[in-house]
Symmetry: C4
Subunit: 257 residues, 4 copies
């Protein structure tokens, strides 16, 4: 079979479209943000992406209906003449091997290039290894103009973070994107790395919404964030109760995301 199979579900003409990528990863920040954006925009299905580089797995819905694991593109057409159309890429998995990461990213970029995409925003989490109360949004970009532009939206470009670079789809969409003459930005929400982190996703999405001049209602995402807070607090209390005298490191919480 083809390494990557892209099934087009809808034929659309897009106006200067921008690609937003958010796949599972650290704290699931990127996926949470992209999925929430897609829902809030009521973006429509454009294409489904299957690949032998995903696990050989189907999900079963509560009604008993199976669905092959995939990535998915949704589109949103700007309501005003001045606005830009948006493509949102989400999904169940990133490619499960290095080669798979490259193959899938390259195919999706090629497909999106054909739709007119010349700019990419990738959304991700940045693991700090400690609880982050007010997550900053860190950035990396393909050129100096984008760095300056993002700084005006409060994005932090730190000399040392991320030190070892970015591994996975959020970096690769920018890195390979340059071979397709695309420019782009990676927005990374700070997160502990131990939990799925809707609060970090919210921070990322707030920046993105202002950059894209779109309005997003964050009520549902904040509710999710509070639910996670409650669970984290509960675990914290349980630990405190059982080991009252020892200093707590948050390392013990494990990775829930």
């Amino acid at each position: 079979m083809e390494d990557v199979v892209i099934v087009t579900l809808d034929k659309v003409e897009l106006k200067n479209p921008i690609l937003i990528e958010g796949l599972p990863g650290v704290g699931n920040v990127g996926k949470l943000a992209a999925d929430y954006l897609r829902e809030q925009l009521h973006a429509k299905p454009l294409a489904t992406i299957y690949s032998k580089f995903f696990p050989p797995q189907v999900y079963v819905s509560e009604e008993g209906i199976i669905r092959l694991v995939s990535n998915d593109l949704h589109y949103w057409k700007a309501s005003t003449g001045a606005g830009r159309d948006i493509l949102v890429l989400g999904g169940d998995y990133q490619g499960i091997s290095p080669e798979g990461q490259y193959e899938i990213t390259q195919r999706v970029l090629d497909y999106c290039h054909g739709l007119g995409v010349r700019e990419v925003f990738t959304l991700a989490g940045f693991a700090q290894g400690r609880v982050v109360d007010a997550p900053r949004v860190l950035g990396a970009a393909t050129n100096a103009e984008l760095v300056e532009a993002m700084k005006r939206f409060g994005v932090v470009f730190s000399r040392n973070d991320p030190g070892g670079g970015l591994i996975g789809a959020s970096g690769l969409f920018l890195g390979l994107g340059r071979l397709f003459e695309m420019e782009g930005v990676c927005l990374m929400g700070e997160t502990s790395g131990y939990f799925v982190d809707p609060r970090s996703a919210e921070a990322v999405l707030k920046v993105l919404a202002r950059v894209l001049h779109i309005e997003v209602d964050f009520t549902a995402l904040e509710a999710k964030a509070k639910e996670i807070d409650r669970i984290a607090q509960k675990i914290h209390d349980t630990e405190k109760a059982s080991e009252p005298a020892t200093p707590q490191t948050r390392e013990d919480l494990g990775y829930i995301g």
Copy 2:
């Protein structure tokens, strides 16, 4: 070499054929059921499937004759005008890498599509992690009509099982099958997951026989089930004798299948 090599052994015209898949897996339920069905129907060899995604291994018969590991398609032609022909897919292994799983499944589906297959039943075991006395048959399907149809045959569609979806051939034949415009059902016999489980295979096959309007004599399969029961009982007794005071978890039995 080609990733998957399909050697056709017999040229046949099939009438609205249905594909039954049963490969090695949890409790070997799917393979036991498919192999037993093939034997009871006296299905004839149609094609042998070799692949570099199987282990580089040959089996040696008691007579000293080697045979390269493979999957195999057998066919059975319905005796009555109203009945549907059946293809049974069995074999020694599933593909041993995720990519291999996709490649083999895609090629077999493509081949079967060429033979007229538009419906697939996949047979599997569902590990409960505990001894199951009267195994239920759980289901998952590609559309709501099939879910309803299967419920009428006693197939259970549970909100929570299988929670994480299906991994391997039984899920993939349905998931990829949709790209070939095939609909289908996965029938999963409950099983402990510690033993090969002919009893679970029997439960699955009984449902399938009623769905397909075919008659199957289960005598030999029941004999096999009783033999496994005897072995399990023996291990159980041995354990009891050696550790009389501690509560038994069936986890200790190990995986025999």
Copy 3:
């Protein structure tokens, strides 16, 4: 690059040639036997086989000259009109992944088929897990006639050995060979599995020489066997000295091959 690159070194016409395969494996029996046969026949280089499925490695000779790891085909032309020509396949490695095993074997078989090969003998060791004083030669073949023919040369076809089949090149050359309409035999010398075993290689080669009606001088191979015996005895004595009271299992000797 091509997955497998075969560089032809000499153009020859071969008369009904038979392929002898002996690559590194259990006790290095197959490789020892094939290399010794090649030397004794003064077989000439025919082709070198490189592959990305071998390790990315070069060997350096004592003179400082590098050589890329490879498999190699040598040929020997029968001196009498009635005899058959012989191809010997040896080398540094088997393919290091399952897929690599298939790819390399398929390409070499294809190449040999082009040279007229229709019969294959594969040489291997069969690990018994205990010291074997007088190694028998076990067999497996592609058809019943060959089984009967080999029995007349003293080859043992055991109901239970090898129980799980053959894994690796020696099995695969026969299994895939059938897709090239080749018939063949695997000759397996019994060996402990802990040492390189020239004695087992000698047993295998003695059978093969009689089958092929060729004369082989075994002096050098017997010398090698005696050297290994001396080393094994030394280790045995050292162990006995250091742990005089405990029963020895040969498992402690480690794998030298």
Copy 4:
């Protein structure tokens, strides 16, 4: 995507060019030497090499600009009529799988062959497992003439080193290079294997400079070497202070490179 993507940045005519390879490896000796040579020669960018056999990773500069991991070719044109032009291959990674090593090496050799390269020097470290005060430069070559020629520059060809051959790019560029009718030499600087080793890189580069008749100012590399010495000494002192009575093995220092 293509397995290996080579983006040409500059079109040049090269005069009898020689390829110098130095990628990350033992003690980072090869990479240090090649990078230093490139800087000292003010070699110009010729081509960037991307591959799905590198990790799916981007680096982020201090200014926040991303860069996809790659290998890179730079060129230097000899100033005198008699001199030879030089190509320097460096980069972030070697291919991360055996197949990847072969694929990348083959593609780069093919590309360089097109530029007229018929001779290759590969630079590497040779791990001695102990501190090496005055690193020798060991050699391996594709033919006896090159061995003799290198001996005249003080390169050591040892009967026993490297015993198991060379694994990775430095060996493979020579081994596969022969399929492109290239001859070549591997220069290996002795190193402990525990540190990045600029001193070993200097030893290698000094030989290479004399072979190529080029002048290199080693001031900066020596400064780097002294810095590493200081760090090593510090660790050594700390260990001595904390475990004063036990003999030190340098194995404890860990691998920093």
